[in-house]
Every structure is written in C-alpha cells, then in structure tokens.
C-alpha cells in the first residue's frame, strides 16, 4: 500500500484552494460556481487519499459521491456524503479499516464527512426506515476504484430499486416534505427563513428534481438531468432561483464559518449590502433583497409542490369522481389537474367577473391555482382591471370569498397573481414585507393571510382550548367583517408613520369606498382595526379578573357582537405571530377574559343607564350623523338628549351613531303615526326595527306576528328610555323565502305587525290564519330547558335567563308567558347558538323586582309553555 500524504501537506493545499474559491466567490458572488469548485476540490483530495491508502487494492472497492456532493453542489461547510461500495461481505470486512482510516483523515482536515459502507447488492432494496439514503443515491457519482461496481449500482441496482419501490419513495418524500412545510407554517414568507429547509428553500429545489426523476421511471435508465424533466417554461426561473439561493447560502457559510443556513436579520442586511446573488453585486435595501429572495422561493415552492401533487395517485373514491365531474361540468373554462386549477379559455382572465368567480371556486373547493394560470392572470391584469378601480358588486364577491372554507388559499392565489394588489393597492406596501421584531416569524402579508386561516381552521378545532373559540365563530352575525378587518389590519405597517394602527385606519377608508360597504359595516371594521391590540395588551398588562379592568374594557367594546369579533381577532392574530405564540395557557386566559366581559355586559345591562352631560361625546357623534341626513343638529340637541335619557348605556355603546340617529328620527315621527317600523334585508337575513311607546304585550305581539308569518327569529333586543319609548330590533330569517319570492308580501308583513302592535288586529287572528305548521325537523342535539332568576344584577329589576331548544314560535310563547304573568320587559336580549336559544330578560312587575312567588309562577308557566 502506498503511504498516505501527510496531513499537514493535505491541509495546506486544502486550505489554499478553499481560500481561492472563497476569494473568487467574494469577487463574483457566483454561488453555483463556488459549490462546483468545492466539489471538484474535495474530489481531488478524496481520490488522492484513497489511492494513497488503498494502493492497487483500490480496484477491489468503489468510491462514489452521493447526495449534494454527488450532484456537485457542495456548499462551503456542508456534509460530504461518501459511499464505499464492495462486492461481497468478505471484501467489505477486509477494507473496513482502511476505509475508516480514509474517513478519519478527512475528518482531520476538518471536512464533515458522512460515510456509508454498502454491498452493491444491498443497494436495490428500499428501507422505509431510511428513505433519506435512497434519496441520496439518486445523485450518485463515480469517484474512484472499480468502475464496474459503480456501473452495476448505476445501471442495475438503482433502476431495480426505483422500479420496485419508486412509488413508496415518492410517498415518503411527499410525507417528509409535508411535515417539513407544516413545521414551517406552510409558507415561504418567513422573516428569518432557513435557506435549506424553509418552504421554497434548496431542499424544495432538490425535491423538485427527485420528484421529476421518480415521476418519469422510463427515463431512469438514461439518468436524464432532472431539470430537463421539468415543464420547459419553468426551467429558467428555477435555475435562476437556484443560482440566487446558492449564492446566498455560500455567503452565509463563509460569513459564519459553519453549516448554518438561517438567514437572520443581520445576515439579510449584510447580504443586501454586498448585493449577494444579484447581477454585478449591486447593493440594495435589505427589504428589497428579501423581496427578491421571496420571488425565487415562490418559484421553487410552487413547482416542487405542484410536482408532488401531480405525482401522487389520487384515490378515485366515488366522491372524488363526482367532484371531478362536477368541476368539469360546472366550469367548462377551467379544469383541475393534480389539485391545481388550470385555465382552458384564456379569455376568462380578461373578464373580472369570471376571474373573481374562479377565485370563489378556489375558496369553496380548496384547489390551488396552477403556476401557468397564475402567470396568465398576472400578464392580463393591466387589461382586466384598472388599479384601484371602483368595481360594482365587488364587496358581495369578496364577501363570498372571505367566508368560504378555503378563503386563505383563494386570497393567497389572488395575491400571488397580483389581483389582490390590483383591486386594493393599499395591500402593495405589505407585499413580502419583513418587519423586524423578536416574535413575528412571517412577512406582514403572510401573517395577514394566516390570521384568516386560523379562524377558518376553527371549523375543525382539534384541541380542547380551541373549541370555545370555534363556538364563538359559529355565532357570528357577519363573519365577513372579521375577515375583512384581518386582511387589512396591518397594512399600516408598510406606511410611513409611528403607529401602524393610525396609518392602517386611514388606508382602509379607501377600501371602504371601493367596496361600497355600509357605514355600520365600515364602523365595525374600523373598531376591530383600531382596537386589535386591546385584548392582548390587557392580557399582558392588566389583571383580567379585576372588575375595574372588565368594566373599562366592556365600555370600550360596547356590544357582545363586537366582543366576539375582537376575541376571535385576537386569537387569530396571536396565533399568526409564530407557531408557538398562542399557548393553551394564553388561549384559556383570552377565553376567560371574554367570558368575564360578556358576563359583565349581560349583568350590567339594566343597571347602567344613559344620562347625557352637557357635552357628551355620544351626543356629538349622533348629532353629526343627523347632520349628514339633512337634519339641523342644534335644533335636535335637546330632543335627542331626552330620547337617550334612561336608555341602557349598552344601547348607546352597541349602536353606531347612524343607527341611533335613525331610531331618533323614528321616535320623532311617532307624532305622525304611533308605530314606526323599518324592515331591511342584510345578506341572508332581515332586520326589523320598531319604535313605539311602551305597551302591554308589545314584544309578544311582534314575535307572534313574525312567527305567524313563518319567520325564524334568531336574535332580538328590546330597549326602553325613561319616557317609555321603546326601540325593538328583531333579526330573522325567512326559511320559506316568502318575502323574496313575493315582493308584495313585504308590505303586508309590515302592515300586519303595525296592526297587531297598535291593537287593530288581534294576534290570535293572524295565528289562526297561519297556524304555525312548519314541519319541525328533529333536532340534531337536544337542549334541556333551564330557567334562572338573578336579583343581584340590577337594583330595580330581576334578570331572567332562559336556555332552551330553539324552535319556531319560541319567542312568542316565552314573551306571552311573561305578559300573562304580568311581567314588564325592561330590557331583552335574545340570541341563538345553533339549536340553543339563549334569552335574557330584565323584568319588573308594577315597577318592582319579581317576588319569589312570582318567580315560581313564571318558572312554571315557562316550563309549561316550553
């Protein structure tokens, strides 16, 4: 055997060559060239050393490069994967020590070696425990020794392994990739990404190579370059992306002197300053350099996931066949291949209406947008829609997208194709925006999409601590307002100014104008954006069990609906900061804070009444709203004060100034007619507002009239001021579509209610005429009736809480029972959670709390009515 070269000599030559490669990289920023040069350098040393140690015996074994080293992509501090191949166990045993000696010498040269010894006959079997080894064999390359052994591996064992177990290997690669992506939040938009393992990183680039090879088994025998198996139109952007990432990774390795691929803020700034990966190494702003990184990562992520989706066989269940059939039939302009939407009719992308329909179908069915479709849309956009144009009906279309179960996929696709920014230029400032702080993991746009995803995922809540939030989500009246707020809550972060909430609120006004949202809807979104940090700050800095904290917070929030929205907003926002940000501890604390506030709102409803001061801010805001509707505010000031006097504070806090202004106008019109009524349609439900003077059986009359018409009341409230003017609001659905199919019936419903309330028509006549005969569907869950009285919440009335099974006509039966026992409703709040009706009434009998006997009588009456 020859004598091994001295370590000192080898080290000197290794160090000198490594320094030369590093200097060349520093001058050219060419990462691809640097990794090839290092591979060649290592080849030379490994071959020289092996020949020296084994001498002529080298022909008894074969030495091969595998993994990254095999594909000549050896980064400055990457592991070197070496394979020692032998013919038989005896040879393997005989040369084990020399091979160990080669490995040891390479270690002494500070090379990180991962050696493997195998019999060539072992290489055709696939072990599910170690798919990584089979993957590394895909990039095998001859180095030294017996070439026939290598040819057997290359031309025989590996093709056999791949033809037998290729699909298993593909499945394992897919599963490993899925797990890796899930761990990283399934997004490329990390503030400090890992260049190797983050989605869109180098690992994904190589995954795209392996999947292309495994998906073309007939090409394995000729070992075609995997890049040539990709769709031709994607090749160039992939190769450019590799060049960029290779340069960035080399830069990281040289800068840190180790195999650390985390792109920290400091390294981003340094790479941007050096213009790493850019032509001529021009320095750029770190934020711009990261945008270039994301563009390349997006190309890699898109192709690797697309190839994976296409490569795995889809189980043809009956449902999936139907799904494919339905997709083809209902959308002839699009088709779905491997879970990705392709556009068959290119003219589709120039018609905004149809284009939004395509994104709605993504939101409903969860398909991904194919890369070619994305490019088609992107290129056509200048002709499809003007930037920031007013698009009639846009809010309705966006609303449908936002509430559909796969809304995040649709929004991400709208963003990556450029449509979202085209429709809402305000969003452009947070595109791939890196905000440097200690906690956030994702760019601002990715964080915003993730907040929306966190809410939709509540539909499949898995943990106990998620379920209470899922319950709140199911009770929301207008979830689209939550989603709209989440989408735009952080746009202020990309704008000049110290406070992103303030700048965000300014920007979102343009969004409202473009969408044409109603003023009260806009108000809810403004509230959510303005207060979106309130609950987190209270959780961190205030004692959430202190009644004063709860009272102050409840005042700020105003209504239970706002509280629900803000709680879910906070849940989604914290959870989208990083995967560990929302611990079960924090989630439970948030829910306890919600419960305490909701409970306080309900208890304090009757006790806290409104008494206007001389310059009350509420009065000023309502006067402003009145001025907008043409009234003369100064003349109305006193009258408005009288109208608000004695109403529960909750009424003033829970309604917008515009709503209160409308109620006030209705109260003024009582002079002309003693029942004022407004019926309006909102989405799939109706809202009835009735203002009149208090009278017996009022609530029972309205709820009875609605029940007689077959309407399903799911929410109601009744407030009265000190002078006995009542403002009742009912939210109901029309399950038989009576009003929708017969426009004339709407007026008749209004007339019926007015007649019942003013005593012209006995309710019994209506009920007799239209006996409540709706077929009762058997309930999915059975809710036991609970009746509770509480004398401590109000100083002058008794709180009655009823929880029972929701059913048609329920509210009429309950309010009739109250009237029959002589109870006066001071305040009422009626709500429905799925099939549970949750009603709260503050009651008096002749101006006093209910006695124990009266409570018992009422309980008996209610249980009998139920």
């Amino acid at each position: 055997m020859a004598v091994a070269p001295s370590i000192a000599l080898l080290r000197d030559s290794y160090t000198a060559e490594a320094a030369r490669i590093e200097a060349e990289f520093a001058a050219t920023s060419d990462g691809s060239k640097a990794v090839q040069a290092r591979s060649a350098q290592v080849d030379q040393i490994v071959v020289q050393l092996t020949e020296a140690i084994l001498g002529p015996d080298i022909q008894r074994v074969c030495l091969a490069a595998i993994g990254g080293y095999g594909r000549r992509a050896l980064f400055p501090f990457s592991d070197i994967d070496l394979l020692f191949l032998c013919e038989d166990p005896v040879t393997l045993k005989r040369y084990r020590d020399p091979m160990r000696s080669i490995a040891q010498t390479l270690w002494d040269l500070r090379m990180k070696l991962s050696p493997a010894n195998r019999l060539v006959s072992e290489c055709d079997s696939f072990s599910r425990d170690n798919p990584e080894f089979a993957v590394s064999l895909l990039d095998q390359r001859f180095l030294a020794g017996d070439r026939r052994l290598f040819n057997r591996l290359h031309g025989d064992s590996l093709p056999r392994l791949l033809s037998r177990s290729g699909s298993d290997l593909l499945q394992d690669i897919s599963e490993l990739t899925r797990q890796r992506h899930a761990k990283e939040g399934d997004t490329i938009f990390h503030l400090e990404p890992n260049l190797k393992n983050s989605p869109g990183g180098l690992r994904d680039y190589h995954t795209a190579c392996w999947v292309a090879m495994l998906s073309h088994p007939h090409r394995i025998a000729d070992w075609a370059a995997p890049e040539n198996l990709w769709p031709a139109q994607r090749r160039e952007e992939m190769l450019k992306a590799f060049d960029f990432l290779a340069a960035a990774r080399c830069f990281l390795h040289y800068k840190q002197g180790r195999d650390d691929n985390g792109l920290s803020y400091e390294l981003q700034a340094a790479a941007a300053q050096r213009g790493v990966g850019l032509e001529a190494g021009r320095p750029v702003d770190p934020a711009d350099w990261m945008r270039i990184y994301f563009r390349h990562a997006r190309a890699i992520y898109s192709l690797s996931t697309q190839l994976l989706d296409e490569s795995l066989p889809v189980p043809m269940t009956l449902l999936s066949r139907f799904d494919r059939w339905r997709t083809r039939r209902s959308n002839p302009e699009t088709s779905v291949v491997g879970g990705r939407l392709a556009i068959n009719q290119p003219e589709l992308v120039r018609d905004l209406d149809r284009l939004l329909g395509l994104f709605l179908s993504i939101a409903q069915e969860g398909h991904k947008l194919g890369r070619e479709a994305e490019e088609l849309i992107s290129q056509a956009l200048p002709k499809t829609v003007e930037s920031g144009a007013h698009v009639p009906g846009l809010w309705e279309k966006l609303r449908q997208i936002l509430i559909a179960p796969h809304a995040p996929a649709a929004l991400r696709a709208m963003h990556s194709s450029g449509l979202l920014v085209r429709l809402f230029p305000e969003f452009a400032v947070i595109d791939s925006l890196v905000m440097r702080d200690f906690y956030h993991h994702y760019t601002v746009d990715a964080h915003s999409f993730m907040t929306i995803e966190n809410i939709h995922r509540l539909r499949q809540a898995r943990h106990d601590w998620e379920r209470p939030f899922a319950g709140i989500f199911s009770e929301l009246e207008e979830p689209e307002l939550l989603f709209l707020s989440l989408l735009f809550h952080d746009v202020g972060k990309g704008m000049p100014g110290d406070d992103h909430v303030v700048t965000g609120l300014q920007a979102v006004e343009q969004v409202f104008l473009r969408l044409g949202v109603e003023e009260d809807e806009a108000d809810t979104v403004r509230f959510l954006i303005r207060e979106h940090l309130q609950m987190s700050m209270n959780l961190l800095r205030r004692d959430i069990f202190d009644p004063e904290t709860i009272r102050g917070f409840a005042e700020k929030v105003g209504s239970l609906e706002h509280l629900k929205l803000l709680t879910l907003f906070t849940y989604a926002d914290i959870r989208a900061v990083n995967p560990e940000a929302l611990t079960p501890w924090k989630a439970e604390s948030l829910f306890q804070f919600y419960v305490s506030t909701a409970s306080y709102m309900s208890r304090s409803l009757d006790e806290e009444r409104f008494h206007a001061g001389a310059q009350d801010e509420h009065i000023e805001r309502i006067l402003k709203a009145l001025a907008k509707s043409g009234a003369r505010p100064e003349e109305a000031r006193q009258e408005l004060g009288a109208f608000l006097e004695g109403l529960p504070r909750r009424y003033v806090l829970a309604h917008t100034p515009e709503e209160i202004a409308m109620h006030f106008q209705m109260a003024r019109d009582l002079e002309k007619s003693d029942v004022q009524l407004r019926l309006s349609k909102r989405g799939h439900w109706y809202r009835l507002i009735l203002v009149t003077t208090d009278r017996p059986l009022l609530f029972a009359g309205i709820s009875g009239a609605l029940a007689a018409w077959g309407m399903n009341i799911w929410k109601a409230e009744a407030f009265a001021n000190g002078a006995g003017t009542v403002v009742d609001t009912f939210h109901f659905t029309d399950p038989n579509r009576t009003l929708e199919l017969n426009p004339g019936e709407r007026q008749r419903l209004e007339q019926n209610i007015t007649a019942v309330v003013s005593g012209q028509t006995p309710l019994e006549d209506l009920l007799r005429g239209r006996a409540v005969t709706q077929a009762m569907r058997p309930p999915k869950i059975t809710v036991a009736t609970e009746v509770r009285f509480d004398d401590s919440s109000s100083s002058h009335s008794t709180l009655l809480e009823i929880v029972t099974q929701d059913r048609p006509g329920l509210l009429h039966r309950v309010s009739s029972a109250l009237a029959q026992t002589g109870c006066n409703i001071e305040v009422a709040l009626i709500d429905t959670e799925g099939q549970r009706a949750v009603d709260a009434f503050y009651l008096t009998v002749q101006g006093r709390k209910l006695s124990a006997e009266k409570q018992q009588e009422l309980r008996d009456e209610l249980l009998a009515a139920g």
Partner: protein, 112 residues
C-alpha cells in the same frame, strides 16, 4: 447560592422582569402556570352556562442567584408584583447546593 421562585400575576410580569434587569439580574426561567392559593378562583355565568375558573393564570419566575443579589431581587419582586389584592402570588426561597454549566462544566457561582 439561592433559588428564588416567584409566582406572580401575569399583568405584573413585564414590570418585574424589567426591574430585575435593571438591578443586573438577567438569567431567569419563566413559565406560564395555573393555580390558586387561598384565592380559590371564581365562577362566571355566561349565556346560561356556569364557567368555574378555579385555576387562575399566573407566571412563575425561577432564578438561582449568588447570596449578595438575593435580598435586592426579593425586594424588587415585592415592589413590582404587589398590588395589595388577593392573588398577588408568593415568593419561595431555597438553598442550592451546586450549579454546573453544561457547556464548560464550570461549577458554583461562576456557573450562574
């Protein structure tokens, strides 16, 4: 060496941490915990259901200090964690026999 374990109101944690940093104490282990002392928790009625909050959220801070820092650490925690209400928490103090830094196996106060 002395180990200090303080269980405090979550709302006081930021103030306590900042104050400890200001007197030169930076190493600490922080956990989100639940529990109750004599405070016992309370019950909330929400939409017809009773929610018993018997274990209240608290933050636990643990640190091991050389003797000369123990008093000032305790005073700092008391000053910043106290609101005067039930539920402010507790401080437990105990002796530590040995500390070993795993990286370089240094022992005693030098390892802190």
């Amino acid at each position: 060496m002395t180990r200090i374990e303080a269980i405090i109101q979550p709302s006081r944690f930021e103030a306590v941490k900042t104050a400890l940093h200001q007197i030169g104490i930076e190493g600490m282990t922080v956990s989100e915990v639940r529990g109750h002392g004599r405070q016992k928790g309370h019950t909330e009625t929400y939409r017809g259901r009773e929610y018993e909050v018997d274990l209240l959220p608290k933050v636990k801070i643990e640190m091991v200090l050389p003797y000369n820092l123990v008093d000032s650490a305790i005073q700092t925690i008391l000053k910043h964690a106290k609101t005067g209400k039930i539920g402010d928490g507790k401080i437990f103090v105990s002796k530590i026999d040995e500390a070993i830094r795993i990286r370089d196996e240094e022992r005693g106060e030098a390892a802190l």
